[in-house]
Structures are given as structure tokens and as C-alpha cells.
Symmetry: C2
Subunit: 348 residues, 2 copies
DNA sequence: CTGAAAGCGCTTACAG
DNA sequence: CTGAAAGCGCTTACAG
């Protein structure tokens, strides 16, 4: 491997000049610059990153910590983060914590030893233990790590979109299958949904909501839905919104088993827009998480936003990005939209 | 950050001794070792990886190049590789090529600049262009990169397992939906299936196989299956094996649409064992790829197998790992097993 | 068994 | 505008 020394000799200049040319120092005269560039090309010189890192004490690497890259949502985040980082000349070091606190601590320590530009951490679901001050920028993604700033989907706003959609379709008896209330995500999604329903109840006095706590999984969704669907027709909800697509898929299964047709007999909506949501029968109305925006915000935080909007962050430094309602076959109008709202008012 | 110098001063020894203790040099006397360790603990000393890398010219990092980490199979490989590497004290740098040749070349160059221990590459589907000699160990995973050794599932053997399973269940009229024959995977899976059928035909003269080329996707599977299922009962295959789960899922859909019950009217089997395979109705019989063994073999190749089996590699250095047949609800016996084979002979 | 010293490849004040 | 020199933190022959 050629070094700056070789390049300097080949170009007939000092190593200092080579270094300046390489770093784009504007004070180098064009003639010298050209000679150096020629030598760089001739020798196929590639800078030694370790030496540069030792000298400057920073390396173009971002550490990414996730519970399990096998989770499709985390894989999507990782994909976007890596792509964004690559565009800005940085590599990504990946670490899985297996959703285990001790492993998380170990992985973070290992990452820190590489002296990365910063850390993007999707924390383990157990609240993460404090682990001594970290000298590089750290940002939490999706799940908060210690007291670092959080970047996540605006779960409450997303749930509100679903609530508004269902009410707009004419549903008045709605069941909400919330996630575990000891999780922040579970709470925020429920709050957003309930608040929006409360707002709508002002103009729709007949609006009724029932809330049922589920796990974020298929089974609990199916189980709760079976109970709901076993009720008489005029008690049964006409729409079921779930705190996750997994739950909603379970609801879909229960409906099919109990000979209820979706969306004719009951509308169903989820949250997350996992791949399966577009493959179910019928396809699932849901809220897609703004993966790319989340990834970009996280990388911007570490590398410094180049022309980004620092205003997006609140005083706490937290950033919440709005998801988008994706309307598919599992929801449809119960009654025609009020004539006053005009043609197409049912679209979102 | 404390340095070796600080530790040396704190322990009252030279930096050379500190370094020796840290590297586990056995010649250091216990008394000194203890003093050094105490200083390390007191100062919370953490070695500077950049300095170590500069000096030794190697860094405990493995580069991993995949087309797209969002692909569940690659995500699983990445998860296992990272876990395996972490256990051996190494970090993983992740790069996505977006299945684009130019991006692949750029990502590999970027990775190489970090002077990693080696590169594990899942090549882009287009044959990868040569890109100058690479100085570190490189191993291809799943898809061959240039002329580097390949580690992959033994696709032919896996297909043979499916063929043997179906014949063993009593099927004599079998359709095989192969993958694109310009892909190596497509060819190997077809060859393995066809060879096993040919072998069985020796003892089952009535065994008939028809082969139909599909893409590795849902749609082409559904489309071909519709044609197959439109045939009269005594021409229609009693079993359909597909070169991928995606294809098989399409077959399942076609069967449902045409009122054929799986597995009663027709047995269906796939390949890959994607997550969806265990969620379909009925659940899909398939071949699971030995992800963990593949990952371990790849890491062993880069880091040097600690007590592994070098004998596993052929002369070419290629390693093929056998997948496992996973029997689920989509296949079942057409006829009782021959009495000679005893109870339970139908199990695999 | 331990220490002193060189040197890995780079960047960065500092002279000139 | 360019060059000479120090030094980042570590490891490793080499003396002793």
C-alpha cells in the first residue's frame, strides 16, 4: 500500500503538501495540486483510515445498535441509515443486543472503543440501565435509550389518523385493541386514538369506543376479537382498530373464522404497515412508519444536519415524525358521506 | 481517555509492560500484572483501537456486503454473522449494494479502506465485475462474488429432500415449478429435484414429473398453478413442488381460488422457509436454509476456524451446507406407506 | 523478566 | 504558498 510518503516522493513535494491536497486545502497552488493528484492516481494511493483516526481522533463510522436486525422494521431502519450514511461518506457498524440489557451494554462498549462519530440506538425493551457518560453523540431511535434524545414516529398522531378515518367512514361503534400499557408506544397509540375519538364525539354524540388491552401479537388480537365478534349484531363494533398490524391480522383471522366479512360486516385497521399488511385478504388499512425520514433525522443528528431543519426538534431534542394513513381493502364506508361534504370526501 | 502511558505511570511500570499485560503475555510476573490490572481498572482504561490498528495493521472488524438488508434472508445471515463475530471479539460493518454493480464496487472500496479482517460478500445478482486484487480474505455467501470461495446452502440436496418426501408420501404425478434457469440457484434446485425423481423412477415406473419455469415470485407461481389445476383430475399433478416459498404461496392461492383443498387434493411444497411459510393456511412444507451454519462457516473462513472442520471445504474451497426438510400441513400421504416399512415410516 | 526506543501513517500548527 | 517536525496511542524487537 502506498503511503503519503510515497506520494510525496513521486510528486516531488513534502508529505504535508500531500496531506493538504487530500484534505482539499484551498491554499495549495494548482500546479502542485495537479502533480499530487497524478501521483495519487499513479500509485493508487488510499489513505490509511487507522492513521487518520489516530491523529484526528475521529473515524467516519456510525454505530447502530438494534435489538435484532431480523425484525423487519429495524432492518428497514438499518437499510435507510446505512444508505444515508454512505451518501455522506460514512460506514455503519452494526450490533444486535438480542433485546438483552447486558448484551446491550457490552455492544455499546465495544462500539465506543472504535471511537465512532456517534451512536444510533434502538434500546432494548427493558428500560436501559445507565452506563457511564458517553463521549460521542447518541440518539435514540424508536425506543428511548437512557436520557438521550428520541427520534420516533408520532404514534399518537398516527392513531388519530385511523380514528378520524373510521369516524369519517360512518362508524359509530368502534373497538380499539391497544398495546401493552407499560410500553410507551402502547400508551401513545392509545392516547392518540382516544383523544381523536373524544374530539369527534362532540359532533357525533352516538360515537362509542371500547378499549381492550392486547399484546403486540397475532394471538391476543385473535382472542380478543373472538369475544367481540361473539356479541349480538347491534352490540358488536362495526370497526376494530388495532395498535399493531400483528394484532389486526389476528382480528382478520377471527372474523374469517366467525363468518364475518371484512370490511362489509366489520372494518379492521392496523398500525406499522408491515409487509404482511399488503398481502392479507383483504389487504389491511394501516399507518406506515416514516422509515426514511426517521433514518435521515437520526443520521443528521449524529453528523450534523447539512441544511436540515433544526426547528423540527422540540426543546427536549426529541423529534416525532408523522406516519401516513394507508387505506386498503379492510376498511370501507358504512354509510354514504354526508351530502354537505361533497364528492370524494371519503378519500384520505 | 486514559492511555497506556497513564496506566504505566499509575502502576509504576513502563508502557511496554502495560502493553504486554494487556496482550496476555505470559512472561510478565504476577505481581506486576496485578498492579497493571489495578491501574487499568482504576483509570477505566480502554485501548484506542485506531492506534492499535495503525501499529498492527489489522482491526477487529469484518465487512459485510449484502444487496439489501431488508431481505429477510440476508437479515438473518447478518444477525448470525454479527452474533458470531461479537462472540469472537469482532465488529461488523454493514454495506448495502442495492443490488447495483457500481454501488457494490464503491461499497467494497469503502470497506477496504477500513482495513477489515476480511469481507463477507453476498454478491449482486448481476455477475460482479472484477475490481482489482483484494488484499484481505474474501468469502462469497449465498451468491458468488467474482472468483472467491462460495459458502451456500446445498440447493440440490435440499430439493432432493423434497422430491424424496413427496414420492415417499405416494405421489406419482408431480409438477416442479423451477426458478429462472439463468440463475445458479434456479439450476441447482431443479437439478437436485430432477435427479432424485430419476433415481426413484427406477423403483416407481409410474412416476411422472413435469417442469415449469417460474420467476422466484408469488405471481408466476399463481399463474402457472392455475393452468396446472385447470386440467382434468387424472392429468392434474397430485403434488406441486416449487423452487421457492414465494412461488409455493402463489400455488396455494391458486388452489384456494380453484376450490382445490391442500393437501387433500394437491400437496404443495416450497423452499427457503421464509416467515410467511409458517403463517400460510395450510402451513407450508419447505426446506429451511441453515442460516446459522452458513454464518458460522463464513466467519470461520475470515477469522480462521478455531477448532472447526477444514475438511468441510472441497478443493475449490467452496462449502455447501445442507438445509433441513420442514414438514408442515401442506403435504400429506396420498396412500398408506408400504406395510414393510413399519409404523411411522411416513415421518421425516 | 522488564524497560527504552523506534515507528506504524497521518495531520497540524509553526516557520520561512 | 510550502516544508520540516512533532505527535496521536500503541506494539514490538532489542538490550539489559
Amino acid at each position: 500500500m502506498a503511503t503519503v510518503k510515497d506520494v510525496a516522493a513521486h510528486a516531488g513535494v513534502s508529505v504535508g503538501t500531500v496531506s493538504k491536497v487530500l484534505s482539499g486545502d484551498a491554499t495549495v497552488k494548482d500546479a502542485l495540486r495537479a502533480k499530487v493528484m497524478a501521483a495519487v492516481a499513479a500509485l493508487e494511493y488510499r489513505p490509511n483510515m487507522a492513521a487518520r483516526a489516530l491523529r484526528t481522533n475521529k473515524i467516519n463510522v456510525i454505530g447502530l445498535v438494534v435489538p435484532d436486525i431480523t425484525n423487519p422494521f429495524f432492518a428497514q431502519l438499518a437499510f435507510r441509515i446505512e444508505t444515508e450514511a454512505a451518501e455522506r461518506g460514512h460506514m455503519v457498524m452494526l450490533a444486535n443486543t438480542h433485546d438483552d440489557l447486558a448484551t446491550e451494554a457490552r455492544q455499546i462498549a465495544a462500539l465506543l472503543r472504535q471511537a465512532p462519530r456517534g451512536l444510533i440506538i434502538v434500546a432494548t425493551s427493558d428500560s436501559s440501565a445507565a452506563a457511564g457518560p458517553i463521549e460521542v453523540p447518541v440518539v435514540s431511535l424508536d425506543r428511548r435509550f437512557q436520557d438521550s434524545a428520541l427520534i420516533s414516529t408520532d404514534h399518537a398522531a398516527g392513531s388519530a389518523l385511523v380514528a378520524a378515518h373510521l369516524v369519517g367512514l360512518g362508524h359509530r361503534r368502534i373497538a380499539y385493541l391497544c398495546g401493552p400499557q407499560q410500553t410507551e408506544v402502547g400508551r401513545q397509540r392509545l392516547n392518540g386514538f382516544r383523544d381523536e375519538i373524544a374530539r369527534r364525539a362532540a359532533t357525533h354524540p352516538d360515537l362509542v369506543i371500547s378499549v381492550h388491552e392486547a399484546q403486540f401479537d397475532y394471538e391476543s388480537g385473535e382472542q380478543i376479537a373472538r369475544r367481540l365478534f361473539a356479541q349480538e349484531d347491534d352490540l358488536r363494533p362495526t370497526a376494530v382498530a388495532a395498535a399493531s398490524d400483528q394484532i389486526a391480522l389476528g382480528v382478520l383471522r377471527a372474523a374469517r373464522d366467525m363468518a364475518l366479512e371484512v370490511p362489509r360486516d366489520v372494518a379492521v385497521a392496523g398500525f406499522d404497515d408491515i409487509t404482511l399488511a399488503a398481502l392479507s385478504v383483504p389487504r389491511l388499512t394501516t399507518v406506515s412508519q416514516p422509515v426514511q425520514a426517521l433514518a435521515k433525522a437520526a443520521v443528521d443528528r449524529i453528523l450534523g444536519a447539512a441544511g436540515a431543519s433544526p426547528a423540527a426538534a422540540g426543546a427536549s431534542g426529541d423529534i416525532f415524525v408523522e406516519g401516513a394513513l394507508v387505506v386498503r381493502g379492510s376498511t370501507q364506508a358504512r354509510v354514504p358521506p354526508p351530502s354537505g361534504s361533497g364528492i370524494g370526501s371519503g378519500r384520505v
